[in-house]
């Protein structure tokens, strides 16, 4: 179990990558002649871009080591800064600051301020939080920053950031290399040097490294941990901003694209440095830059492999994560009460909920409810499409419940699994749309989950999340865009025998029923021995092993289950969209949104998946209100604010509400049900403990002491001084003397 060195899975992955490289190179070779000059130019370009990745990744690592928070919003901060820089320096209608001045203003003033602000209001509370919460909050912040940038600077407008020195440069043979690129390399080298000096020669730098060793001891030496973490955030944001601004001229300048480029490369480079070593991180950044630029130089991005350049960082990430040593079984972790204490739903409640859901959906869709003043009427095609989209996403979200909610395996790639289901269905059912193939698709998806589980089984926590991220990206950038996978086919309507779900209404009803059945099945599964075992494994892997649970096998089973659920959901997903747009449907942000909303709602509860319909409900509501007229500010609030910023804000809100909204509601609600005696007793126990803590020391649970009495009198304002002259105690409270 604890073998080190090269593992079979790693060897397999390396060989597969190499073979893949050969195949892709063979098929996509652009036919450019290889000369010394062209090699040199690609290398300089690679070093330049790589330097920027290195700068960005360094910021990520500094923040992670010093504060323990892995910042998925790192790229988002860079994106926001780059757009701010554009506004200050490049916008023709803007204030038109000189480039250098704008650069300094953004990198040295605005970005650090953002970093410190984030640290003060959010990140400090996260240090002791559950990993899922940590990840969700920073991912939520990323989504929020990207939305904000997109709203402030309309994302659909094309704009660009110019090179420094207006693209002038120095010719190598027939190729021009811009001064900008040389400058970037010089700047990166200077930053590396400065960081080295900072971290090894100054007190605050040494303290930042000391925190990695032993956080408590750092405080015991008198270093202010709060200041250290603020400084790290300021530094990290600054580096993100610098990288974002300097890389902007090299890429398509849109929030999502810039974030993709920066974030994934930074994560991969940081992973190569095992999230600790800055020199290795820099090497990682340069390596990715070089690979990308040589890829761009020598391969054509024609039909078969359109996005190989974007796949390089994920491939590096994937290999690095696989090469990491075995995560040890955790023993001796201090048990705290922070982990979600989950409340199980009994089967009757689950059945009731499922039936109620179906009834409500039918009543609403047919418009059988008349509110008197307002008769909504039956749903039109738009409303039905909204409902379908909502239920499809909810169905995919259900697949996360056993995997992440119960077994604690973080998965950022639900759509990658769903896409595989869609692909299988296309191959198996073809034109017929025969629904009987759906269970078969589920069965065939399970092995994919099992394979991912074999890669993931050794990992835990953050690295597992990164692996799933790499998996999502590999599927999105390499596999699915291949024209053989999703040819421009449209999916046929679903049919069972001769009955075809040819109207949107029928399809919607079918979806509701499928969802309700799945939800009920999950409620039953949670109460089965499998569900118990998975939850037990998440609570303590070490303890689960000591009662005889085979941890690896259990993980394989739960991954397979989740993949099967996601694959079946993927069939409905594809059919609801009629066709798959392989370039956009599997985007990271789409994956993130599902995981974020699930987490904000409460990953452990199947019913929480309904929460994923949030955005569609908001939009539908906004539309309805708009039709009804008048409600101006409210419509704006729903449409422009809640629907767009909601997912990010909800996830950020997990800083406070760590267990998820549905959990909190359930916690308040369950004790009200007459048959939930257990919930009432738990509530009573919790309250009792809180109260005993509060007043235990004051003399209610122990005999009163003179000091306690004096303290009470002091609090009540009856005496002024809590340490009165000797003898006062006994004079005022003679009874106490013999206590």
């Amino acid at each position: 179990m604890r073998t080190s060195g090269l593992r079979p899975s790693l060897i397999f992955a390396i060989l597969a990558s190499l073979g893949f490289l050969v195949v892709v190179s063979w098929q996509s070779w652009a036919g450019n002649t290889v000369t010394l000059d062209s090699l040199l130019v690609a290398t300089i370009a690679g070093l330049s871009v790589g330097s920027l990745y290195a700068i960005s990744a360094t910021g990520l690592v500094v923040v992670y080591t010093t504060t323990g928070t892995f910042n998925f919003a790192h790229g988002g901060i860079g994106v926001f800064s780059a757009f701010l820089y554009w506004e200050l320096a490049e916008n023709k209608d803007g204030i038109g600051l000189p480039r250098l001045f704008a650069l300094i203003l953004v990198v040295l003033v605005v970005a650090p301020a953002i970093g410190v602000f984030l640290d003060l209001i959010l990140m400090r509370r996260l240090r002791t939080a559950d990993l899922v919460v940590q990840l969700m909050v920073t991912v939520g912040l990323m989504v929020f920053l990207l939305t904000l940038t997109g709203q402030l600077w309309q994302a659909d407008q094309a704009r660009s950031v110019g090179f420094f020195w207006e693209g002038q440069g120095f010719f190598i043979g027939e190729f021009k290399v811009t001064w900008h690129r040389y400058m970037v390399i010089v700047v990166a080298a200077a930053i590396a040097l400065l960081l080295r000096l900072l971290l090894y020669r100054t007190r605050i730098g040494v303290a930042m490294r000391a925190v990695v060793d032993n956080r408590e001891l750092t405080a015991l030496n008198g270093a202010r941990p709060g200041m250290l973490s603020s400084f790290a955030w300021a530094l990290g944001s600054s580096l993100a901003a610098l990288a974002g601004i300097l890389i902007a001229p090299e890429v398509q300048f849109s929030p999502a694209n810039l974030n993709d480029v920066m974030l994934i490369a930074a994560i991969a480079a940081a992973a190569l440095g095992q999230l600790r070593s800055l020199p290795l991180t820099v090497v990682g950044g340069l390596l990715i830059g070089l690979l990308q630029q040589h890829n761009a130089q020598w391969l054509s991005h024609g039909a078969d492999w359109p996005f190989t350049r974007l796949a390089i960082a994920p491939i590096v990430l994937f290999l690095v994560v696989l090469a990491l040593p075995q995560a040890r079984l955790e023993v001796g972790r201090v048990a705290t009460n922070l982990r979600p204490v989950e409340r199980t739903t009994n089967w009757a409640e689950g059945a009731f909920g499922s039936v109620a859901l179906i009834v409500v959906a039918i009543v609403l869709a047919n418009g059988w409810l008349d509110f008197g003043v307002w008769d909504p009427g039956p749903w039109n095609q738009i409303a039905l499409n909204n409902g379908i989209a909502a239920m499809v996403i909810a169905l995919i979200g259900l697949s996360l419940v056993p995997l992440t909610g119960w077994a604690g395996q973080i998965n950022f790639a639900p759509l990658a699994f769903a896409g595989f289901g869609a692909f299988l269905f296309l191959k198996l059912a073809g034109e017929s749309g025969n629904a009987l193939w759906i269970p078969v698709v589920g069965l065939l998806c399970a092995p994919l989950g099992a394979i991912v589980a074999l890669f993931a089984a050794r990992l835990s926590g953050l690295y597992l999340a990164l692996l799933s991220l790499a998996f999502a990206l590999l599927m999105a950038k390499l596999v699915y865009p291949h024209p053989k996978i999703f040819p421009t086919h449209t999916f046929a309507d679903l049919s069972v025998g001769s009955y075809t779900l040819d109207s949107r209404y029928r399809f919607f009803l079918a979806l509701i029923i499928v969802f309700a059945v799945m939800m009920f099945a999950l409620v039953l599964l949670r109460r089965s021995r499998f569900g118990r075992r998975w939850v037990a494994m998440q609570d303590s892997q070490a303890a689960a092993a000591t009662i005889g649970v085979n941890v690896i096998l259990t993980k394989v089973i739960v991954y397979a289950t989740s993949a099967a659920l996601a694959g079946m959901a993927g069939v409905f997903w594809a059919i609801s969209k009629n066709s798959i747009d392989s370039g956009r449907d599997f985007e990271l942000l789409a994956n993130f949104e599902i995981v974020l909303l699930m987490a904000a709602a409460g990953l452990a509860m199947p019913a929480a998946a309904l929460f994923l319909s949030f955005r569609f409900v908001i939009e539908a509501l906004g539309g309805r209100l708009d039709e009804a007229g008048s409600f101006g500010p409210l419509v704006w609030f729903l449409d422009s604010f809640l629907a767009k910023f909601g997912p990010g804000l909800l996830a950020i809100g997990m800083v406070v509400n760590q267990r998820g909204a549905v959990f909190e509601m359930g916690k308040g609600f369950a004790p009200l049900l007459p048959w939930r005696r257990d919930a009432r007793r738990e509530l009573a126990l919790e309250r009792e403990r809180g109260r005993v803590r509060e007043i235990g020391g004051l003399g209610l649970t122990e005999p009163f002491t003179g000091e306690a009495l004096l303290e009470i009198d002091h609090e009540l304002g009856v005496v002024d001084d809590i340490t009165p002259a000797e003898g006062y105690r006994h004079a005022v409270h003679p009874e106490v003397a013999d206590v």
Binding site: V206, L220, N221, L698
Partner: protein, 241 residues
Amino acid sequence: MTTAAPLLELRGVRAGYGIIDVLHGVDLVLQPGEVLALLGPNGAGKSTTLAVASGQIEPSSGQLLIGGREVNGARPDALARSGVCLVPEGRGIFPNLTVTENLRMMTFAGTSLSAIQEKAYELFPRLEERRRQLAGTLSGGEQQMLAMARAMATDPALLMLDELSMGLAPIIVDELYSQVATLARTGLSILIVEQFAKTVLGVADTAAIMLHGRVTRTGRPDEIAEELTAAYLGIESGGHQ
């Protein structure tokens, strides 16, 4: 001016980790200039008491008073800068920093690096030879000397030592404790948590025994010794209930 308040006082302190309560009402007083030995078996709550006194764990009820002032909720770094120095259990050093860098970490309390270096190297010349070495590669005794250097060099007002002798050879333990005795003679107030009771009792003015999260007995060291053996080996309470 009032009569001097105790330098450190715990009144009915309850505290613990997460949901686990370790201290069930600890009362403890350390007078200025006194050396107090806190003894007791594993798991009695000695280290937790130090964690409370240094601000690492906040009491869930009760009071922590330092210099007569209630400081419940004070941050450990703030207490450290004002002169409360805890050398924690299991080597209070940063293994991945060099010796010099470890000494640099001690400058947060206000002493300059050169002053700390001078004093540390004077007391433990071995450290100077190793100043570029990573602290994690030092021997156990050298690591503990490095940790002790902070106590010697940063001029604390209250020094707390947790299991100084753990895993060290007796000769080195003696050497370390002779330094502690030197410190005690300068009038420094010291709270020592130890298992090697005999060594400590030679240095201490007062001793306290801790059992099950409470201080059960306080007295002069020679009075305590017998009871201590019983507490460690369960002799007195032997026989079935």
